[in-house]
Amino acid sequence: MTPDPDRGAAAERTRLAWRRTGLSATAVALLAARPSFRPEAGVLAWLIAALAIAGWAAMITLAYRRARGLGSVPPRPGRRVIPAYALLAAALAALGGLVVML
């Protein structure tokens, strides 16, 4: 039996969608970390930057691990990654609230 040729390139398109989303997350994390680059940045700014980078790293790791599930034949659909990723995105929004308060 021949492996599924994945005619619509569904797995590849999904992988690229994860990558685009990772790039958006990068932009958000950099904007959240930005106040810490000021010379007069306080402890709070540093804490926010650390949390933003940690959240960003978690998102990139999730997307990286997801790519493995997409690489198998037939590709496995995402399960727990999806709520975890959305919660991380919402956490970045909460962190953004702290940035506004700075």
């Binding site: 999806i82 919660l87 995105a89 970045l92 929004a93 609230g97 940035v99």
Partner: protein, 137 residues
Amino acid sequence: MTRAVDNQPVLGALRQWFDPEKQPTVGRTPDYRFSLANERTFLAWIRTGLALIAGGLACAQFLPPLSVAHLREIIAIGLLLLGALVALRAVDHWARTERAMRLGQELPGSKFPAILALAVTAGALLLAIAVLIKAVQ
């Protein structure tokens, strides 16, 4: 059409978010291509949410203080809340679509895109009015 699983609206929905896998009792596994398409739709919504969050952060950091007191902060917080809402709604919609596909039901419709469009339009109009007031003064 009920969006709740069993009789626990909130808990049931949350459980459905985290393991639609644990519900093989309902329906059967759909073609993986449909599931992946659902996943890409979810990711597109997440990008929308992240763009709103980035917009909020950019407002807070790059806008000069506006004519109306704290308007800048209000816009920033509004965009951040909208971004978080979009992200959470994205999972909910993903889980409900997945469940509908398993059961072979019609996919869930949603008023959310229209509401989001109206919210963004209203925000843009408010900002335009604020700018006009500033220009007139």
